[in-house]
Symmetry: C2
Subunit: 648 residues, 2 copies
């Protein structure tokens, strides 16, 4: 069958029965599959202008649309020659506004003793050239000089390095710097490996990369391994988003033919672009990057390594591996030094990954006596409770509401996203702040928490999440999908076309998300026989943590109500942990201990979780005694919740 893709005008041969989206992909035309091709989101709709397709699902298509010829590309198969129109796709903005929002300087989050030598080391060697009297081979000569001049007692090298050794040594006239990767567990157990040979004395510029592979965003720190310092960082959306916005969608996409390899390539491409950008910015060669540490959730780590994630999703949720083997960059296609080790940090289980063990590492909670709660809110909310003696973790399916999905006007935290809102208690008029001070385009996660907190504290919404339609304001109205609150009128938005609103449906989604996380806290603390009030410190990590307004998060019942001084922002704990594990072998070994020590509580197997979740589906909670400060504020508020006032 011949399929013509418009408006690109590309004709391609396809088998009868081929999935439309695969044919479109073959033609090289971009088509996003936010749900990973499950036929759930309806975003991959295309117009069949001529010819026949068989629609296996009509979900999210109206009768009119079907009559017009629209079909879901992920659910329709070619039946005849046809002409398919692919509408313009929402481009995935690659660059994240790091310059404005990242901490200006990233320092090592946990202490590493200066006595601990780095894993990548450079040794300058002046070698006597071979002669008939001293005809030791090139490699054994290099090894001999490493013993004589630096006391390095053993050495290994891979074949590609061995293949260029003879030429390199002679071109450098036997005056070289050997770059060695030392065994993680000391010389007794692992033989140092020759990673590179540089001509002359070049013992500086030993670089590394610490990488956080998030489901949504990828972050790369360019690291000076010698000084244990982050030189710069860059971040971008994970290009896998085009194949599924959340983890489950990606896992489903990975199970399609070629899907896993495609996802692997997308994230590697994203990282390579970031690494190339950093290299250009600093005038360095990417081949000077000799070691890479990667932290990511278990699914992201599997996709990055090409490990099938299928069984992570199916009960009993089993990953292939928790402690992935070290892999060479060239095996993965990561464009750093091809001989660089790429080291993925270990996970605890299917839903507590290397991002969390990295987070615990960078939070220092594994060294403290204080009872500490660590939380990383992203698409999932992962929670760790414990201290130096013990660690217990759980994961709550918060859903992507706080990442801008599942909410009509939601968006990611990029320029034009509303990230903070204040509502006037008299007029109910909102004041908004946007990222980059640009005209508003939508609401990001922190903006939603801020908005919902304000709406609740000013009585715009009640504890069940219902809008108070009796208030004297045109901002509250009945919209197409039920009651809604207008945050920005259309003329003031970036597009100028549609109002930015938060509907009761959106609010219900947000309440479910925050309820799941709070229920996680409750079950986790109860499982070890303590109450939330016993927690001495609450550490907030993950990319989300940087923008979170703790006051508002407590007001909506996302975070527990406790003195503010117990909360601490940590920023991107996943990337910071990868950085710590990259520059300090002691800390790298510590992550193994953390992963092995941490127990995992499977909430889906826990009956009390459902009860706690149901109780948390209110603002701030059914049990208001858990939120005393919020209650006090509501009582003193001029226009607070009537029912709270009645209770008092």
């Amino acid at each position: 069958m011949q399929v013509t893709i418009e408006p690109a005008g590309i004709a391609i041969d396809a088998k009868r029965g081929a999935l439309l989206h695969e044919v479109i992909a073959q033609a090289g035309v971009a088509l996003n599959l936010p749900c990973g091709g499950q036929g759930r989101c309806g975003h991959c709709r295309v117009l069949v202008k001529r010819g026949e397709v068989r629609r296996r699902s009509l979900l999210r298509l109206s009768k009119e649309e079907i009559a017009e010829g629209w079909a879901l590309a992920c659910q329709s198969v070619v039946e005849s020659d046809c002409v398919i129109y692919v509408p313009p796709q929402e481009a995935i903005e690659r660059r994240l506004p790091t310059e404005k929002y990242a901490a200006t300087e990233i320092t090592l989050p946990v202490e590493c003793s200066p006595q601990v030598l780095p894993m990548i080391r450079a040794y300058h060697l002046t070698i006597d050239p071979p002669s008939l009297e001293d005809n030791t081979t090139d490699f054994e000569r290099l090894r001999r000089e490493l013993v004589r001049q630096h006391g390095i007692r053993a050495l290994t090298a891979t074949l590609p390095l061995m293949q260029r050794l003879a030429t390199t040594l002679r071109e450098a006239a036997w005056d070289v710097t050997a770059i060695l990767e030392m065994g993680l567990y000391g010389d007794e157990y692992a033989v140092p490996r020759l990673v590179d040979i540089r001509p002359g004395s070049q013992t500086r510029r030993l670089l590394g990369a610490a990488i956080d592979i998030g489901t949504t965003s990828n972050v790369v720190y360019l690291v000076d391994l010698d000084r244990r310092a982050v030189l710069d960082s860059a971040s971008a959306y994970n290009a896998q988003i085009a194949c599924g916005e959340d983890i489950i969608s990606r896992i489903i996409y990975a199970s399609r033919p070629g899907g896993l390899q495609h996802l692997r390539m997308l994230v590697v491409d994203t990282l390579n672009q970031l690494i190339a950008d950093l290299a250009t910015r600093h005038g360095i060669a990417t081949t000077d990057i000799y070691r890479v540490s990667v932290a990511g959730n278990t699914t992201m780590t599997h996709l990055f390594l090409g490990l099938p994630p299928t069984y992570i999703r199916l009960e009993p949720y089993i990953p292939t591996v928790s402690h992935p083997p070290a892999v060479l960059a060239r095996e993965l296609g990561l464009q750093v030094n091809p001989e660089a080790t790429v080291d993925c940090l270990p996970s605890v289980g299917a839903y507590v990954g290397g991002d969390i063990t990295a987070g615990v590492l960078s939070s220092n909670m594994f060294r403290t006596d204080k009872l500490t709660l660590f939380i990383d809110v992203g698409t999932n909310g992962e929670i760790v409770l414990g201290n130096a003696d013990w660690l217990i973790s759980c994961a709550c399916s918060a859903g992507p509401a706080f990442e801008g999905a599942g909410v009509a006007c939601g968006m990611r935290a990029t320029a034009g996203a509303i990230d903070e809102v204040w509502i006037n208690t008299e007029t109910y008029e909102p004041t908004v702040r946007t990222i980059g001070d640009e005209p508003p385009r939508g609401i990001c996660g922190s903006g939603m928490i801020s908005l919902l907190g304000e709406m609740f504290m000013t009585g715009v919404v009640d504890k069940a999440g219902r809008l108070n339609r009796s208030l004297q304001t045109s901002r509250i109205r009945l919209g197409e999908h039920g009651p809604e609150y207008v945050v920005v009128w259309a003329p003031e938005t970036a597009s100028g076309k549609a109002d930015i609103v938060l509907s009761e449906v959106d609010i219900a989604n947000l309440i479910r998300a925050k309820g799941a996380i709070y229920a996680g806290f409750s079950v986790l603390t109860r499982s070890v026989g303590i109450s939330l009030a016993d927690v001495e410190e609450v550490l907030i990590g993950g990319a989300f943590g940087r923008y979170l307004d703790i006051e508002k998060a407590v007001q909506i019942g996302l975070l527990p109500d406790m003195p503010w001084e117990r909360f601490r922002y940590l920023g991107n704990t996943s990337a910071q942990g990868a950085f710590a594990a990259l520059v300090c072998p002691d800390l790298r070994r510590e992550v193994v201990e953390i992963a092995n020590k941490m127990t995992y509580l499977e909430l889906s197997a826990d009956n009390t979780f459902m009860d706690e979740f149901t109780s948390a589906l209110f603002l701030p909670h059914t049990d208001t005694t858990q939120f005393p400060s919020v209650m006090r504020l509501l009582k003193t508020s001029p226009k607070g919740q009537d029912d709270v006032k009645q209770e008092s």
Copy 2:
């Protein structure tokens, strides 16, 4: 420029200045370069039928040939559009006549204690499937069961194996056999590696391959690792022969652009074909071959691994490495199990390679108290002297005369080669035996030794290598290149066209070859202060050893004159040593000891070698006291050497 290759009729675009032989290779037309493209041998001549080429060398071309348009493809560059005729090439017969000449059963040449466990082991595991209560990952679950069920305390795996682990375990319903490669130096130093997972209980059929990469012939033994037995063997000419017959020619070819990679591919192809043949013959999957041991001279090992051999040829003759790193089969393109380790045995130096350390291993001389001389005659003659306490080695450039090159009617030891000759002392009429009893096509190495010995003992040739033209026989005549002896008249040959002869020029070549080897013996023994007569055992290895007539070899002064019971044939010691190192980790470690212990005497740096060589350029030697038995025989011979009789 357009170059048309005839008779194939292939037209190909070429740059002005491109080498003809490279253009011909691009067109996919076979053209042998026996000297590796040095312009020395004249065998790559082609006819320029139209157009212009520039001849950088005219060596080996007669005036008439140049006038006709002949040119050396390796020395001529394209100057215009042209038409080139490539004459039929001597096909390199791939298959060697192993069935007829190999030992019917190959047994382990040295003792390996039955207590020593093999490196490749199979462990059957019945694994409890994961559950919510026991959600250990696939890999850690496998590792846990290896500890519980078999006491294997650690495990590693490469990424490709990890990538298929989840599917394999589930398809096999958690009942699997894990194939492990144990660390060579025990569990303390190296972690066992998962090489394969088979469904169900399949602990048998653990195969390996022991490979001898000779400059001329490649041999593969298919090995049952469990039973430590050779199941079968196959051999073929090294396809690199098309790019140079001897080591120097190959090294020169390797320095051309793409030359090294091409040579690497040729030998890998040769081995893959042999492995495929063996697999087909035994109905096995090549993926059941889990470990490969390779013995080859230093250059062959370098070419196989893609290491540049350039500096092996240039003084001071330095290889890249003596103890090559273990490499995975997939990195080399060797078609066995992609996860199989390919282990190249260590060499001593540029001219004493893994074939010799393997030879010493398989000879058992490293365990004996007897003063032993080990000799491997191929293109080079490598000699090792010593016993359990010490080993000293040298290499003599014998040249390829004994391999059939450098002698007008010389050929390799294949069907139709004359391998034994008897000369009637009255009539000087020869009787010949050929390989396969086929009509004679030429003379192989063992045939030449036999022939030269007979000619000398019957007085056809004198001690200086001159033919006795006064004898009453039409067999001795003045040929085109001087005096010659007719071994077979044209009508009795396979071609029926030309007589098979041995000329004085050929004889001089043979005497130089045997003289170099004998001089090697002399210098080596003298260097340690002993005489040849002190040697208690002479072991003859290498592919050559199997056909050698010791009596004749002593008569021409190739081997020292000592009681026959001191000589022992060992067959292909290189392949046997690879086999021993493959099946027994103790013996594999022993090869390292042998390589480290063995000293190397560089003959080119030794003044006495030239003296000894000059003295050995006679039959059997200038110093006849070194050959008492030959002298005795000559004196009693009815028609022996006149001057010997005069001496008596």
